[in-house]
Symmetry: C2
Subunit: 204 residues, 2 copies
Amino acid sequence: MKKKLVLDTSIFVNPASAAAFGSSPTAALAAFLEQAKQADVELLMPPSIYAELMCFAEEAKISKALLLLIHRKPPKKHETRIPGVFIYSLVESMRDRVDRGLRLAERHVRESLQAPAAQSAAGDKPVRADAEAISRLRESYRRIMREGMLDSRADVDLLLLAYEVDGLLVSADQGVLSWAENLGISILSYDHLRDFLVEQNSNR
Amino acid sequence: MKKKLVLDTSIFVNPASAAAFGSSPTAALAAFLEQAKQADVELLMPPSIYAELMCFAEEAKISKALLLLIHRKPPKKHETRIPGVFIYSLVESMRDRVDRGLRLAERHVRESLQAPAAQSAAGDKPVRADAEAISRLRESYRRIMREGMLDSRADVDLLLLAYEVDGLLVSADQGVLSWAENLGISILSYDHLRDFLVEQNSNR
């Protein structure tokens, strides 16, 4: 039976990963598809991930014959059932983020209280201090909240699809890969993808 | 077939709910069990929820015969499978909280920047301002993050158990009830519990 590869955007967008195939997301995707055409594999991608990828790759520059190799399949999200134990992992990872978010907010509030008072007479200076403090807060908060968190519909599509078809999830995103492990999904790291395709080819 | 009631702590702890049965969690639980004994129902509670309830009710003051009516059953969390679509709801509710948490943190940082500068000469006054600001932040942050959020293992136990046994989930917690709705679990609001027991009794 053909191996089913469920493909994440990150393979072609993450610089380290894309470099294995090409110098841009477009080149990487085209080169990957050329190579996959020779291999005995089925390529699957949820429509949400396909759309996400096409924000980075120029669809018009890749031949339709190659693009057709990608089977755009949404997960059967109402029918596919996943082990209840997965919910505990999700809820706990969420609680952990929420706690870290609060610690971070506290640190920023403390720092702001110790900052020199806004000099309302000094023109636009206080506004800049304000904007800088907020932008520092946002950056740290988003980094904490996003890193390794399952937080987009597209990522859930990816996991459910790989689970449903019992496929190999290919990604360059550590967060996605670790959630896949949590669900008992087989994973293929991006840096093995090239060799994997070569092997599927020689095995025909 | 006996109706299966999956009981949440909140029935006996939430003041509005507990009042239907007694003046304290202990009295409410005992009175509820006395009434349930006459009715043709099976009472189920995950061990985590039972333990939580016993932080509020005095176990030693309730007869063992009554307490034995409660079947302490954990959900089969590795075997029970839930529809994948539930994950999307969880992830989206989480994203929404995370966004609101950031807005809140931004507001508190802005307020702190505008607060009078800490007077390091003025003894312990700045420390108090600091502590007050942090405590205000914590209170608002926790309210936003907890309200209606699925954030404890015990709540997940409750949902999975009710799902597994196809029971009626009884709770006074709107968050738990709405997550149950999301999973297609039958719910019984606390304010119908008394009448429900009377009816199960007369139907025998």
